[in-house]
């Protein structure tokens, strides 16, 4: 795992790490091992994007925007649309992101996301097909990290899901095929759009190992004290991707319990997210500049 906050200035010494070891079920901020910090979410924040969301989880701040383009499908998958993730690490988040500093993390995040979204049961790309083998929608999911305060993977996956939930795809009025020329007419009414089905979109849960105990939603300091972490991407109660970060190793039993913990936590996350997204009304005020 990339250690984010400057190692030079913010590396907790051995003695502090000892304190972070959690033999009792109580963490430095009073949470239990399986507790999440409260988070704040909003959708439709970028007016010129097809769908967008912003998530703030304590000090982690993520902005996601979805853009749509008409593209030709891959020859080997003529019936499917395309989905691409791009992560941008703002140098405002931490000084290490300056220049090419955040690239490694960005690639790690986008790879993890695309492997989590690969399965058809997770996200059905066939819905994005316009004309078999010729035209399809391509979704660009752009993720901007505005602030980093630990637990990036979870925050990003929630924000991506919310942004896809918010995404509206224009309806097609007519398609004119003239030899190799394809002319697509989009519906004039800007409000007649289809929404994406995101019930299966995966949520990632980082299970962090500190000492011999596992916790979820680590803050930046806890991340630095951990020996390793497993990122479990869960869709409809099934694991769709696992990636391990950090240098430490996991005992098979610990690993298994991490996965089980990941699934149960993802279910709780899913419930909260669905409930919160359900509260959003159409044409709601955009919140964070209130």
């Amino acid at each position: 795992m990339l250690i984010l906050s400057s190692e030079k200035t913010d590396n907790p010494a051995r003695i502090e790490r000892t304190y972070y070891l959690i033999s009792e079920n109580i963490r430095i901020d009073g949470r239990e091992r399986e507790d999440y910090r409260p988070m704040e979410i909003e959708t439709d924040v970028v007016s010129h994007a097809f769908g967008s969301s912003r998530l703030r989880l304590a000090n982690t701040d993520v902005l996601v925007a979805v853009k749509i383009e008409v593209d030709a499908p891959y020859p080997e998958r003529p019936l499917e649309g395309k989905l691409e993730f791009f992560v941008d690490c703002s140098a405002n988040a931490t000084p290490e992101f300056e220049g090419r500093g955040g690239e490694e993390l960005a690639v790690e995040l986008s790879n993890c996301l695309s492997s989590a979204y690969r399965s058809e049961e997770v996200f059905n790309l066939k819905k994005l097909c316009i004309m078999k083998g010729r035209k399809c929608w391509k979704l660009y999911v752009d993720i901007l990290l505005l602030e980093v305060g630990g637990n990036l993977f979870d925050a990003v996956s929630i924000a991506v899901k919310a942004a896809l939930w918010n995404t509206q795809i224009p309806k097609i009025k007519s398609i004119n095929v003239d030899g190799s020329n394809i002319d697509i007419q989009v519906c004039d009414d800007i409000f007649s759009c289809t929404k994406l089905d995101v019930t299966g979109a995966p949520l990632m849960v980082t299970v962090c190992k500190i000492g011999d105990k596992c916790i979820v939603d680590p803050n930046a300091a806890e991340e630095q004290c951990s020996v390793g972490a497993v990122v479990v991407a869960v869709s409809r109660g099934n694991i769709c991707t696992i990636s391990q970060t950090g240098t430490g190793s996991f005992h098979p039993d610990t690993f298994k319990s991490c996965l089980i913990l990941g699934i149960s936590v993802a279910q709780r996350l899913e419930d909260s997210l669905t409930e919160t997204l359900g509260e959003i009304k159409a044409n709601q005020d955009v919140g964070f500049l209130k």
Binding site: I26, R37, G287
Partner: protein
């Protein structure tokens, strides 16, 4: 049973301000005109444009005769001699440690300004220089006092007193330096079994009260074996959350505000203290209590 995961909409954000009928000083924003007259001296945080004095930072105006300056609400730490600070060692160099104290430039702690084990008036040999990493290494937290301020604004620290030195097991909380109230002492042993160091640089150290019966070893020995009991851990976590609640609502931090906040917070569980509306409520009732105790 784990808590329900709290996810809210940004439009339902909680207002954290706790201002209760008090005179709020005017806050100037960058570019705002402070004075149109020509009779002023330009101080820190201001600039002159077209014969007008304007603020270059967001903050409150301070006026000494005709010298006008703007003190920023949020800034890095500007040290003064005698301040108690908490800092983290970031580098071991020849004859000095570099310390991060949240100021613009890194502070230094010279080997000649620490108490080495084995008596105060010991000569410092080349051997000591080789042993420096044994005393303090990268990542260690220390409490210290500002000995002097160099011309470029960087600080020189010292730990020549028993109360200063390396810190053991505990939690570091970071707040704005301007929220720490300067008082007679910045070391507090609260009756609830927790000891606090309110560093003027905005770093606050929370640790269990240590009964220092061991002989003087210059404060370089840490007890890694001792396990902090659960009740103390819970109290420390509560204090930490109270401090963050006060800091979020911009209430000044000193011993009585923190004790009041702790008392007010006891009606909530530990996990509830992370919720924004609970934090605002704790800060508000603390503020009311502070005003009451002032008027008495």
């Amino acid at each position: 049973m784990p808590q329900k995961i709290q996810m809210r909409l940004a439009s339902n954000r909680v207002d954290t301000s706790v201002v209760i009928n008090r005179d709020i000083p005017a806050i100037y924003t960058p570019g705002q005109i402070i004075s149109n007259q020509n009779e002023f001296l330009r101080g820190h945080g201001t600039y002159e444009e077209n014969g007008q004095l304007k603020a270059s930072v967001a903050g409150v105006r301070e006026k000494v005769d005709i010298l006008i300056s703007v003190r920023p609400l949020k800034s890095r730490y500007h040290g003064k001699v005698g301040d108690v600070v908490v800092g983290r060692i970031i580098e071991v160099q020849q004859k000095r440690w570099k310390v991060n104290t949240n100021s613009i430039l890194d502070s230094v702690l010279l080997i000649s300004s620490v108490n080495l084990p084995g008596g105060e008036l010991r000569r410092r040999s080349a051997e000591d220089e080789h042993m420096m990493r044994k005393y303090l290494q990268e990542g260690d937290l220390i409490s210290a006092e500002v000995q002097s301020v160099y011309s470029d604004g960087s600080l020189s620290l010292h730990t020549r007193s028993l109360k200063y030195g390396k810190l053991g097991q505990g939690v570091l909380v970071k707040v704005f330096p301007s929220l720490i109230k300067i008082s007679k002492t910045h070391f507090h042993n609260l009756s609830i079994g927790v000891s606090l160091i309110l560093g003027t640089n905005g770093f606050i150290w929370i640790c269990p009260i240590i009964n220092n019966t061991e002989e003087n070893v210059g404060g370089f020995v840490q007890n890694l074996e001792e396990v902090v009991p659960k009740s103390i851990r819970a109290t420390m976590a509560r204090i930490r959350n109270c401090i963050l609640a006060l800091a979020q609502s911009k209430v000044m931090l000193f011993d009585s505000s923190i004790t009041y906040a702790y008392e007010e917070s006891t009606k909530y569980t530990l996990a509830e203290l992370l919720l924004p509306e609970v934090m605002a409520d704790v800060a508000l009732s603390t503020q009311q209590k502070l005003i009451l105790s002032e008027t008495e």
